[in-house]
């Protein structure tokens, strides 16, 4: 041995032990080690190791050379850990061990470097402790760093950490995404349990991004998030509706108040002139189709988008109460990694996951009522009849003459008056929703299972079985190996939806049906057709046809996802996400004879349509991620690839020749079955992507993304394309000169991004020349026939959007006030246009790329403020505002193209041209328009000089949240400044005042201000039974459709814990929620959001005003 004083030797040994532990035992502690029992008598180490290998799954790794100085060992040990056994084996040997996974390396012992201890004259110790949240739940992956150094570690699955060889009496900085960082002084080696409080600063809320997470503090992209707490306050059916008014740069329009109907979503404006402008929806990593292909009989649900001319919205089949957060990715930095699918922004939906802890059972029940928010002031019977008589007088027609058809005056009882709005759509829709969930688990296994039932009836005058009922199940399972190297997460959402609706929205009838229209039913309860003397029905549009000519939609939707990951080396992780989506729809729409007017029945066969749609997609995304410190900064690298396959089939069959109306639901009861349209699509997609993020001391951050995409939607020549973006952020508030000079500024970040994204939303097979089957009931000559499916273009390419965004984030007064201003300039080029062709070409459209450029320039502002923060009382406000501007920048040869009369350079692409309305001619009582030739007969296109911009001028929302003890009040005002269609100002959009067409002739009271005699100055032309073709195309049709809407309000009360503890509840909350409660607008139609355009068949039910009361109980 060496000649060293004993004391020093002891110190050395201790140091050796500590250093060894520090260098070699990093991962040993976390292994769940087997217990060993060994009896060894003077055996060589090699033998002993072989024995250990036999008892365990561990293997040894060593060089035989090192055993030449080793001594034989003797010991008898029971139930010892591997580590203990090895320590005994190597006691007093010049050897040491290192365990990595299941490999034990035996190495030569290193001599200690004395300077380490002696220069400091301080004892280095190891510290262990545990990091938990305020409820005691362990936090996995929290970072623990010794202040002022780069020494650090992160917590394991139990929240435990161990820091080796650090100074005694040190200060630790503990941080975790979404929690407030904390400094903690450690005395001795046991740090105990360190609590981290959830950050209340919105800066530190977790934001989900593409293949990862970040916070608002550190993100370089333009991302907005909405959390479960906000979503759950809103009694809506489609998660997209919960975003209305809350997100800068996002427009969500509910197109109808009918349950299950479509929703229009635009992120930062319209990028494409005609093609898909829908964002990419991703639920738990599984992309979901953004437009539903139609079944062919589902018209009531409203248009889904231009590609499939389909109906409804896919997110109607997603249970809103299972959602944990929705993140909206807007700029190139956030979306370029989605390449060709990211041009219109991305909406990421993340579902709820189980948390470790005791089992929680949560019950949430709510019930409510929905009603029409307002009514239009329509003519009553007296006013209506006077209008009709006056029209006949003006036209010089004697309406009593037999040749004049005027059933409303001749046949119907002109003393009747019915308020059809009250009668047909004035009902109350009932809402019922019950949700139960069980969650809990350990760190090794966490689970959540939740089930929801939802039922919503209609406001229509229809039996209660006209309702939308949804049942859904959501589960999430999260598990990992004990050493935290392997993790697996499995989740699924399943929904069954049964929606029973009339085939046609009754709103049009409610508004336009003549006030003297007859009773709906006969005394015996049958439909009242009101036959005239000849037997012809004079009430053929009796709205109660809808009770029989109904539409039924049954949809099941399964979204399932599994993520498995494995940490190969510290910082290096491989993972793969596998997703599957299966949506099946069966719909049914009968036309029974009872809904056909009697005189037609002999000529009519019973027909019923049976539609189906199935969408099956899978996605595999293997990824490799690597994170390590380089210098003062941290680099994160992600490489991944995507394989996607989506098959869509839809179509319908129809049956004819049933024996009775009752048998129609079964297609087998039809005597003949014919084939309706069928739609089939397949979309395959593969890509490779990468992201590199470098964060230098949380001060300078650069984020690079790239993707190479291939899509089956393009011809072989143009299948692949590259996309990329760069994002940078400078947290200037971390600079000393800012800290010193502007201490009021608690946070300041300047960020910017630039990059390219693409769009392949053109539908499948567009590059192929195809012939499709022409569906016939009786095949021509007994053989099937083919018809061309359209004009193909084999040279189709990607539509490309270049996005530039610059933003500044500022926080004042310890981030109690947060301000963000973002400037957006997106330019889309290489437009994929269904180029309009003259009909001479055979088909009216031909899809091709055009060198047209569209620019969307947005100013986005958001403002969050904690106005009051006392112990029992808090008041926070948030405000957002977007000022969008859309403009056609370039369109070569526009004047000779088929868009010459539609688009205008440097105007928005949604611009409409209209005649200039001059007024009512006092002499003749007719409308006059600005015209070069004849004010009564303007010509197209020369006189269509007025340009109407239907894009919103600005929009946004103001939200306030006030809590006092257990009470919480939250309300959101949404506002939009815009111009819209406002047919109801001067005519009903379908018939001109005085004109009669069954079921469509009533007029708003505004038409009473009409011209009656020469010299009158009126706003409405003379009543007449014949139409006026031009007013529909004049600027009179457009008017202010701005509104401020109390979109949502909720009050909840958390019962005091002393009350509920008696009932053994964990918590109990009662609440009242309301949606669309109040609308302030000058709009004269039913609703400024849906802009109920009364023109034929598009009148739709406005979003309903909904109230619910509910109780949430935690057990």
């Amino acid at each position: 041995m060496y000649c060293i004083p004993r004391k020093i030797l002891f110190a050395m040994r201790l140091t050796i032990f500590l250093l060894t532990a520090a260098f070699l035992h990093v991962s040993a502690g976390v292994l769940a080690q087997p217990k060993l029992s060994l009896t060894v008598k003077n055996e060589t180490l090699e033998k002993v190791f072989a024995m250990i290998e036999k008892q365990t799954s561990y293997t040894f790794f060593y060089d035989f050379e090192i055993f030449k100085d080793a001594k034989n060992v003797t010991f008898d040990i029971k139930n010892a850990t591997l580590e203990e056994v090895l320590t005994i084996c190597l006691k007093d040997q010049p050897l040491d061990f290192k365990i990595v996974n299941t490999t034990i390396s035996i190495v030569k012992k290193k001599e200690p470097q004395p300077g380490l201890i002696l220069s400091n004259n301080l004892l280095l110790i190891d510290i262990h402790g545990r990091v938990t949240d305020s409820l005691g739940g362990p936090l996995t992956g929290a970072s623990v760093i010794v202040k002022g150094s780069h020494i650090g570690t992160s917590t394991d699955g139990n929240g435990d950490f161990k820091l080796l060889g650090v100074n005694d009496n040190t200060v630790l900085v503990i941080s975790f995404t979404g929690y407030t960082s904390r400094q903690y002084r450690v005395k001795g080696s046991d740090a105990g349990t360190i609590l981290l409080n959830k950050s209340i600063s919105p800066l530190d809320e977790v934001q989900i991004i593409a293949y990862g997470t970040t916070t608002r503090r550190l993100s370089t992209g333009n991302i907005s998030s909405v959390t479960a707490a906000v979503i759950e306050r809103q009694p809506v059916q489609n998660p997209l509706l919960a975003l209305q008014g809350r997100i800068p740069g996002l427009v969500v329009i509910q197109t109808s108040g009918i349950s299950g109907s479509s929703v229009k979503v635009r992120i930062q404006g319209q990028n494409s002139i005609l093609n898909g402008n829908d964002p990419l929806y991703i639920i738990d990593g599984v992309p979901v189709i953004s437009q539903l292909p139609r079944t062919g009989i589902d018209g009531i649900l409203g248009p889904s988008g231009p590609n499939y001319s389909g109906e409804g919205n896919p997110l109607n089949y997603m249970n809103i109460s299972d959602i944990e957060s929705i993140d909206i990715l807007k700029d190139a930095d956030a979306t370029a990694i989605y390449g060709s699918r990211g041009a219109n922004g991305v909406i990421l939906i993340t579902t709820k996951k189980g948390k470790a802890g005791p089992m929680h059972l949560d019950l949430n029940m709510q019930t409510g009522w929905g009603q029409m928010p307002r009514r239009l002031n329509m003519l009553n019977t007296r006013q209506y009849l006077d209008m009709r008589y006056e029209a006949f007088r003006n036209d010089g027609i004697n309406w009593t003459s037999p040749s004049v058809s005027a059933n409303d005056l001749k046949v119907w009882d002109t003393t009747r008056y019915t308020d059809w709005q009250k009668e047909l759509i004035g009902g109350t829709a009932n809402y019922t929703s019950v949700n139960a969930s069980v969650s809990g688990g350990t760190n090794a296994v966490r689970y959540l299972v939740s089930a929801t039932y939802h039922k919503e009836t209609t406001v229509f005058l229809l039996p209660k079985d006209f309702a939308d009922q949804k049942g859904s199940v959501h589960f999430n399972l999260n598990t990992g190996s004990a050493n935290e190297k392997f993790r697996m997460q499995f989740s699924g959402d399943f929904m069954f939806d049964q929606n029973q609706l009339p085939k046609i929205d009754l709103t049009q009838a409610a508004l336009l049906q003549e006030p003297d229209a007859p009773a709906l039913y006969n005394a015996d309860g049958s439909i009242n057709w009101v036959p005239d003397a000849s037997g012809t029905s004079t009430y053929p549009n009796n709205p109660m046809i809808g009770m029989y000519a109904k539409y039924q939609n049954k949809t099941t939707n399964l979204i399932s996802n599994m993520i498995a990951s494995y940490k190969i080396l510290p910082g290096l992780e491989i993972s793969s996400s596998v997703g599957y989506n299966n949506m099946q729809t069966n719909d049914y729409s009968p036309s029974p004879l009872i809904a056909v007017r009697p005189e037609y029945r002999s000529k009519t066969q019973r027909v019923a349509g049976y539609g189906d749609r199935n969408i099956i997609s899978w996605i595999i995304e293997p990824q490799l991620s690597y994170a390590r410190k380089i210098g003062e900064g941290k680099v994160e690298i992600l490489i991944g690839s995507t394989l996607l396959d989506m098959k869509t089939n839809s179509g319908y069959l129809f049956g004819t020749g049933y024996l009775s109306d009752e048998m129609m639901e079964d297609i087998h009861a039809a005597s003949t079955v014919g084939s309706g349209v069928s739609f089939r699509g397949e979309y395959t997609y593969d890509a490779i992507f990468s992201r590199v993020n470098y964060n230098w001391m949380d001060k300078y951050i650069i984020n690079l993304t790239a993707r190479r995409d291939g899509s089956s939607r393009f011809g072989p020549a143009n299948q692949f394309h590259n996309f990329g973006a760069v994002g940078v952020a400078w947290l200037f508030s971390s600079e000393n000169f800012i800290k010193e000079k502007f201490d009021v500024l608690s946070f300041g970040k300047l960020k910017g991004s630039y990059g390219t994204t693409g769009s392949d939303q053109i539908g499948d097979y567009q590059f192929m020349s195809l012939y499709s089957l022409y569906p016939t009931g009786v095949p021509y000559q007994g053989t099937n026939s083919l018809i061309p499916a359209g004009l193909p273009n084999p040279y189709l390419q990607w539509e490309e959007t270049k996005k530039l965004q610059v933003g500044i984030d500022l926080g004042f007064l310890q981030n109690r006030i947060l301000v963000n201003v973002t400037f957006v300039k997106n330019r889309s080029s290489n437009q994929l246009l269904p180029y309009q062709l003259p009909t001479v070409a055979g088909f009216s459209t031909y899809l091709s790329n055009f060198p047209a450029t569209i620019q969307n320039k947005n100013w986005e502002f958001s403002f969050n403020s904690t106005n009051i923060k006392e112990r029992n009382f808090t008041w926070t406000s948030s405000f957002n505002l977007t000022i969008p501007q859309n403009k056609l920048v370039a369109f070569p040869n526009l004047s000779t193209s088929s868009y010459a009369n539609k688009l205008i350079i440097s105007q928005p692409i949604s611009i409409e041209r209209a005649l200039n309305f001059v007024g009512v001619d006092p002499t003749t009582g007719n409308y006059m328009f600005g015209s070069k030739i004849d004010p009564f007969n303007p010509t197209y296109p020369g006189d269509y000089t007025r340009l109407i911009n239907l894009d919103p001028k600005f929009y946004g929302g103001l939200q306030n949240n006030i809590t006092y003890k257990g009470f919480e009040l939250d309300f959101l005002f949404q506002f939009v400044k815009q111009i819209g269609y406002n047919d109801a100002l001067f005519w009903n959009g379908n018939r001109y005042p005085g004109n009669f067409y069954r079921g469509l002739s009533n007029q708003p009271v505004t038409v009473l201000d009409r011209w009656q005699k020469p010299g009158d100055n009126a706003s409405i032309k003379r009543f007449s039974t014949s139409p006026d073709p031009y007013v529909l195309e004049s600027d009179l049709r457009y008017s202010d459709a701005s509104y401020i809407r109390l979109k949502n309000a909720s009050i909840s009360w958390e019962l005091p814990s002393k009350w509920i503890s008696k009932a053994q509840f964990r918590n109990c909350r009662v609440y009242v929620q309301g949606q669309n409660l109040l609308t302030i607008t000058n709009y004269k139609g039913l609703d400024p959001e849906t802009q109920t355009i009364l023109t034929s068949n598009s009148s739709s039910l406005p979003p309903l005003c909904v109230w619910t009361v509910g109780i949430h109980v935690g057990l």
Partner: protein
Amino acid sequence: MHKIMLLRYEFHRIKVALSMVLFSFGIFGCKKILDIGAPVNTVNEENVYKTDVTAIAVLTGVYAEMGGGGSGTIFAGGIGMSLLSGLSADELTLYSGVGDNRLIAYYKNALVAASLLNNYGSEFWAGSGGSGLYYYIFICNAAFEGLGKSTTLTPAVKQQLLGEAKFLRAFFYFYLVNYFGDVPLTVTTDPSVNAVISRTPKQQVYQQIIEDLKDAENLLSPVFLDGSLSSYLSTAERVRPTKWAATALLARVYLYIGDFVRAESETTAVINQTSLFGLNILNNAFLKNSSEAIWQIQPVATGRNTEDAFTFILPSSGPNGNLNQVVLSTQLLNSFEAGDLRKTNWVDSVTPPPGITTYYFPYKYKATITSGEATEYLMILRLAEQYLIRAEARAEQNNISGAQADLDVIRSRAGLAGTTANDKISLLASVLHERQVELFTEFGHRWFDLKRANTVEAVMGSVTPLKGGTWKTTDQLYPIPVSDIQMNPNLVQNLGY
């Protein structure tokens, strides 16, 4: 344990993981995954003209679509030529309760092409849902291109299909020139050519029609063929054009352009095919497989006969504003001679309660729904017209007795005595009159005859005001769709619109 082995073990795990990733990336390099093939409910263009069955199916598709699958097309039903041209002329009266602005515009000779929303009169050009005459011509052109390239079809099949496509193209252009005057003559599917095409003078279009029909005469089968283009073994359906359809149409074309010699010789060729064609009794004339039929279209909607039957046959409650919007005009009713069986067999009436008004309607097609196979097919070309063509051609050539003989064939079937007209002028007038009562509500014959005979000014000048409109000379031609004018700077609108 050997150290190499141990090393290998350690790296093996990394290798497996890495190779999994690389494998996935490797797939990326393979373009095969993006190769999706055509959807199963369609056939790729390359394959369509490879086999007889699919190539035949393309032309079959034209016929199937023409008849309408339960709704009207420009050849039948509520937007069909028989209805709309009948309204434009003096054949049909629009029911007063009809609110459809399009029908009103046709009826009052007040077609407009002011703007996209206010555009009535271009249905035959553009269709109402996209299937106008140019759509059908597109399919013919596509068929020429596809058939021309194909080398795998049975020669006889290819020949017949080429003939059908030529015949059809001529047939469609015939209606285009007669409705619109000078029209763009498209002979390719190339959208870049067709999008900027200008109008071709009517005479040139007629030249193309004649050329196509002559080719078709040579290519088409002289006997009726079944769906596989083989000769029928049993009862022949007359639902594919034959050589005689081409000849019959050619006779009509020569008549329209004033080449009476050729008109006569062509029509004689058809009339001489007595083994194939012969006049039927009136009530059976429009049945399926009627011996009078030169070309018919089979209805393809389950349980339905022709769409014209649905449009014209009135329910016992009379006309209405929805399905049954027209009745026969008094002008037409009054033009039947006393004792004309056509007035009793081809016209029917209803007198709904209270029994004041009687409504007359065309009753050539007598059945709407059917429980089994259709009993009536849509008649497109029939023998009676050939006799009338020859009568007119002979009269024009001063062959008085020949003209009289042909005219009397038609008259005698209608139970009428022989014609008393005995000079060219009066015979031509008699033929015109005979055409009015024989061919009423059939594919615009009356509308074209009025224009051809230069009587349109006189007749419509008095009839249009009765319908509530004002007649203008320019109303003779229908307007070109506004959207086509907007998109194609080389297209010029017809005068008066």
